[in-house]
């Protein structure tokens, strides 16, 4: 059928990567002018990491967790607490002070970020292991409950001297540039792709397809489910750490269940089992939400104030669009397929074919 030469595909891929890097470099050298776009792109890249990590678990292993916000909170607070400059701390913890052992601990961003991921993975293991050993159907409920408990713990007065309670953390050092965010996000996603394409990733897919058959093929269900869950938690923690650095100030409200639902929507819209779908949807959703701000400001045309245009209307439109996509693109943008140049080619041929058929006098109608 329609397909390109491998060489052509390689050239196109390299060209695409080069175009993205060039765009990022351009944005970075005109920071002041494009700060708004940069913020959207950075948030999208961070969401892409957590969306792919959720897809690894749900789309590739068939397990369902709703603890994303909680695991992100763990990563975010680990990074926040460990990277706020020592001089800035009295200012951050101005009410209750900071716990002695932490007062002078300051890690480089990289170390704190990895530690954030490890913390999330550790906590994930502690919650996941008993649940996955019994009945993995309860994973969603257990992680959802856990996520709320984490939020309560963060805001608990007893932990004020560590998490700064309900005052949250601020003065978290920012990213050096948008390239740093994209670089880390790309690395994380690349690692997850390698996991999925490895023999372990195939075992995950086997579990998703049919647990009984997978087990009959010698795959230890508990071991592989735990593996997938802990890996997913690790990268969710990393994305939480990135979010903390991106936002620079966080508190327990940053990590409400809504955050988890946003990620879930991205994964479903992008397509369960499609990594490129998750990445694409992260950017579309995050940007789409901003474009729709247009609906939030009162619109006056020639002295006539158009009804409905007011604060919050954008979310109505957003929900409608989502509903339409879920109704008509039930498998998400990408289904369980990945982006490929051949896919793009076919897509354009299909559109061209449809246009030709619609145009009368082209012989198309007669054929149909």
């Amino acid at each position: 059928m329609m397909s390109m030469k491998p060489r052509t595909k390689h050239i196109l891929s390299i060209a695409l990567a080069a175009a993205v890097i060039a765009m990022l470099l351009y944005l970075d050298s005109n920071k002041a002018q494009y700060s708004y776009s940069i913020a959207i792109l950075e948030r999208s890249a961070i969401y892409a990491v957590v969306a792919v990590s959720m897809n690894l678990l749900t789309g590739f292993t068939g397990l369902f967790s709703l603890g994303q916000a909680g695991f992100m909170a763990i990563g975010a607070y680990t990074v926040g607490i460990l990277t706020i400059p020592v001089e800035a701390r009295p200012n951050v913890y101005y009410i209750n002070g900071i716990a002695e052992p932490l007062a002078n601990v300051n890690l480089p961003f990289w170390a704190a970020l990895i530690l954030g991921g490890l913390m999330a993975a550790l906590v994930g293991g502690l919650i996941g292991i008993p649940v996955l050993r019994l009945k993995s159907d309860y994973l969603a409920i257990a992680t959802l409950g856990f996520s709320e408990i984490i939020r309560a713990l963060i805001a608990a007065p007893q932990l004020d001297r560590i998490t700064n309670g309900s005052y949250g953390l601020k003065s978290i050092p920012a990213f050096s540039s948008i390239l740093q965010v994209f670089g880390i996000a790309a690395l994380c996603i690349l690692i997850m792709i390698l996991v999925i394409n490895s023999s372990y990733g195939r075992a995950f897919k086997a579990i998703r397809e049919d647990e009984t058959a997978a087990e009959a093929m010698g795959i230890n269900l508990f071991k592989h489910k735990s593996m997938s869950f802990v890996i997913s938690c690790f990268f969710t923690g990393i994305s939480g750490g990135l979010l903390a650095v991106f936002m620079r100030s966080i508190d327990s409200k940053t990590f409400q269940v809504n955050l988890t639902y946003d990620i879930l929507l991205i994964v479903v819209l992008g397509g369960l089992g499609s990594i490129t779908g998750s990445v694409l949807a992260s950017f579309l959703m995050t940007a789409g939400r901003e474009w729709l701000r247009f609906f939030d400001v009162p619109l006056v045309i020639g002295g006539f104030s158009v009804p409905l245009f007011r604060n919050g209307f954008r979310m109505v439109i957003f929900s409608l669009i989502l509903m339409a996509v879920v109704l008509y693109y039930r498998k998400g943008l990408m289904g369980n397929k990945e982006f490929s140049w051949d896919g793009i080619l076919r897509f354009f041929y299909r559109i061209a074919g449809r246009l030709r058929r619609k145009t009368p006098g082209n012989g198309g109608e007669a054929n149909a």
């Binding site: 490895s198 023999s199 372990y200 897919k205 049919d210 058959a213 087990e215 093929m217 010698g218």
Partner: protein
């Protein structure tokens, strides 16, 4: 003394009040082809599920190459409800999970084909090679174990060639016709390198030609892979031709056992099953 591979001893499987397998004892010896036959709902598949660790039996023991892999006795709610025999004969609980039993060398296919439907033919076989992999997650992710991966792929390709599915390797397995899906399921089971192969109705849904081919295929498997084969099958021509011995199950109970000619001439078997089967088909 015959070399005992699989041994079921007094196995009873009770679901609530339903006794699906009732005090079943049987054995399969090395190199044999043994069939388990009986009317629908007799408990044949359930017996396979007990032998492969999918269900823990209510009472009884299963051993493989002399090692107990499954053993249980009525406990908890079943203490009161137990309607089978040999209560008190077994007092230990052994519950190896299906993956462990597969690693010991028992592989199986399923009556209602359980392929990884959305994955390719090749991936289906390759996945069964995973359990013998030495590399851990890290080495495998970083592709440091590429030699091992290459060997897994080579062996999977070879298996596909043996079962005649090499040209279809990139097809989505769920899209294959029925007969080929059954062959693929056998290839996938072989990929786990078993010594005992359990086939649950391998000819179901096959056309007469495919059923015919199956006979020589099963002989070939036994000889090339040094297998012992235990199969559930309804096609009497196939069963009578291929089996060294036959066990007949009815309402969970063993009603006859012996060589094909012995079983064929057994009045109880004719009444319970063979007469009915011939009328039915």
């Amino acid at each position: 003394m015959p070399d005992n591979v699989l041994h079921l001893a007094d196995v009873t499987m009770q679901f609530g009040g339903v006794v699906a397998v009732n005090n079943l004892s049987l054995e399969v010896n090395r190199g044999e082809i043994v069939a388990l036959i009986g009317p629908n709902g007799a408990g044949k598949t359930t017996a396979f599920n007990v032998a492969t660790g999918v269900y823990a039996p209510t009472n009884g023991r299963v051993s493989f190459n002399g090692e107990t892999i499954v053993s249980n006795f009525p406990q908890g709610k079943m203490k009161k409800m137990y309607a089978g025999e040999n209560r008190g004969k077994y007092t230990d609980v052994v519950r190896k999970t299906p993956d462990v039993i597969t690693k010991l060398g028992i592989a199986r296919t399923f009556q209602n084909i359980r392929l990884f439907k959305n994955l390719t033919v090749f991936e289906n076989v390759l996945i069964a090679k995973h359990m013998n992999m030495k590399a851990g997650l890290f080495l495998s992710t970083c592709m440091i174990n590429y030699k091992e991966e290459r060997e897994m792929r080579r062996q999977s390709t070879e298996l596909l060639e043996i079962v005649g599915l090499a040209e279809l390797r990139s097809e989505i397995s769920g899209s294959l016709p029925y007969g080929q899906q059954r062959r693929l399921e056998i290839a996938r089971a072989l990929a786990t390198e078993p010594s005992l192969l359990l086939l649950d109705e391998p000819a179901a849904g096959m056309n007469p030609q495919e059923t015919n081919d199956l006979t020589s295929f099963i002989y070939q498997l036994r000889d090339d892979f040094h297998l012992t084969i235990f199969m559930i099958e309804h096609h009497m021509n196939l069963v009578m031709e291929i089996s060294d011995r036959i066990y007949v199950l009815d309402f969970g109970k063993l009603i006859a056992a012996g060589t094909p000619s012995e079983v064929q001439n057994n009045q109880r078997v004719i009444d319970a099953y063979l007469g009915v089967a011939e009328d039915g088909e």
